[in-house]
Symmetry: none
Subunit: 216 residues, 4 copies
């Protein structure tokens, strides 16, 4: 594997700093977590975007949150066809094996994946329509969200509305998984939709009554 390189020293330096401080402060807890296994309280599905603050917002990395991150925080519909579905596997593991009690989908502003989907669905990104585009095929999950966007608004507003749709479509798709639906109906699991604004740090939650996002 001669294409593999050693860890860059600036990262090694940060690791050693973490080891000597944050880890040292918590090592007994981490040791227990290793021995007894994780027991996360919630699963969070968020975007890979480097500006999304999921860990710091919730003070994660202490064994509480099972975190799946993919492009545009999407969940595909239930499709047990024997193919590889990484997101569905993560949901299945969290709900059936770890029995998390909260499942949170966290969207965000300025999402490049959602912007790509918007361009693709508007006919402005033919390269994303190609069969070989992994990003394009992945963003197909969000097409139903694009189709129900209200007409007559500016592109900026519609793109942000599509970011909200990415959360809603994922929540809807989650309910197509039998093990999610039954856990929700049994009161063992609750679903939550969030959207965070990168620029001003605001967090908005999907209000189930009005079906709109409101500041937390």
């Amino acid at each position: 594997m001669n294409y593999v390189k050693p860890l860059p020293s600036f990262l090694a330096q940060r690791y050693h700093g973490w080891k000597a401080t944050t880890f040292a402060e918590n090592h007994a807890w981490y040791k227990r977590l290793a021995e007894e296994g994780q027991r996360p309280r919630a699963m969070v599905i968020s975007c890979c975007d480097s500006r999304v603050h999921v860990t710091s917002i919730f003070g994660a990395e202490q064994g509480e949150f099972f975190i799946h991150r993919n492009i545009a925080n999407l969940v595909p519909p239930y499709e047990p066809d024997g193919n590889q579905h990484g997101t569905s596997a993560a949901v299945e593991y969290a709900v059936t094996a770890l029995k998390v009690t909260h499942l949170i989908v966290l969207g965000h502003s300025n999402c490049g994946g959602v912007a790509g989907c918007y361009a693709m669905c508007s006919g402005q990104a033919p390269e994303l329509d190609e069969k070989t585009s992994f990003v394009g095929r992945w963003m197909d999950i969000l097409r139903p969200g694009f189709e129900r966007l209200p007409e007559g608004e500016a592109d900026t507003a519609r793109r942000q509305a599509l970011e909200h749709e990415a959360v809603k479509v994922s929540l809807e798709n989650l309910m197509t998984f039998p093990f999610v639906r039954s856990a929700v109906e049994a009161g063992d699991l609750s679903l939550h939709g969030l959207w965070t604004d990168i620029a001003d740090g605001d967090l908005h939650a999907l209000d189930p009554i009005s079906d709109r996002f409101r500041p937390v």
Copy 2:
């Protein structure tokens, strides 16, 4: 969407704490990141496991790291079949759109996904063999790693060896993506393999010469 619930107050409280402290300290920077876009230096592929410290180890969440997290930090082989491949989409976006210069696969000890794969491949978890098991089908990616495990060691050692294989198989599969291979060959991207021990916080890096993991 009456199955959606409001954000639990313990999370709202943490969010407000973050907003008043970490966010407040950095808001001008986040505003610029929102306006000018992200320019992450590295992509990290790690496990969803709630005990994995990827963000704090490297001081992430400041725009530097594009993070994909799935079960057992796996990358499937290149398969442009028009289906939904969330991991492949994330890799494609990071390498071709964001042009990250480092791609790091981070495995970890006590990995439940890898343990499941080990049980499945050893014939001890027939439920994971079923077509409808998302976790089982996802862990199929790691079967080639199981098959080359050395014989004659204890289960504990073999399971840890399989965690190392999860990193190696992913790195091998990454090289089957034409855009990854060409970026690596052009010197624009370097691949790295890491494995972290949850209990003692140690970080091990895959040494390309010996093909073994060694402490950083």
Copy 3:
């Protein structure tokens, strides 16, 4: 230019070591930084002193910090008189062109420049009072800090207090620059005062409430 000499070999040797290691690990990132330009998050104003650890403390030299170093980390008041003001030029470039979001003044213990200022203001260094003394004229910037030192303490304590004043005077002078003040007032820039102890490595931050330096 026969007064110019070739690079001493001990430095050439270190350069080759850096090139083969740190640079090699990060070359793709440096290439991008060269092509796309720097986007530093912070400006640091520190002393030229060979014992000041600004780069390693913060893991700098990766494109994140715009660093100006002068004698005693001083910033003169705003004086747009058409003369050459190297420090003011650096501040202007960082704030108006690079739009850094943090501006940090970093003082330190055992500062020779501050000790010289203390001696000069106490009448014990007449050579620094001469018009032709560049160091003396430069340290004039710190005279207002000397004048407000509390009486009745030992010289050692007063010299350290003057090191703290060097940070405070610089912060006060920074606010006399219209472009600094307006960026601060708009919330796009925050100012920070630090002082580091060379002997024990401690870092102290200026607490805006108490107006005193406290350990980080």
Copy 4:
């Protein structure tokens, strides 16, 4: 000083990491440096640019290098007019008080300050011509270098030639300081000119015979 803010936590975290590792490894040496004073072997004058690797290239921050950083690594001519000259003060302190034995001017590629000077001298940046432009007035130091650029080359080549001139002009100006000239003539101080390419990490040294920069 209510405009001063506490240190952002991401920097506090990096500091604590450094303190627990790099500092801990070297604390006895730093303690001696604090007690006995610095005794740097060389002064380096380099640019503030966040991509310039002066500390890591030479393994600095251990008491060996007295480092002055300003826009475009410029030294003005000797002008003992009683005004504040930060760069001249740094040179005076290094040569007369610290008695460094090497004085290195380090230029670099992709220099924003030099590009601004080039635009200004070409009549393409009238805002830099204004009396109130600190950057413009500072870059006036480099005007003699612009005026002797060879004609008939492309802008890119001429801008890089001007980066080389920034080093040469500074070396020439250094020789106008009586204490520099006499130390050079006595053989107690040697001057060196360097230029580093950010993209490929190469270091070029000014060859006194050919008057050209050549790879180290």
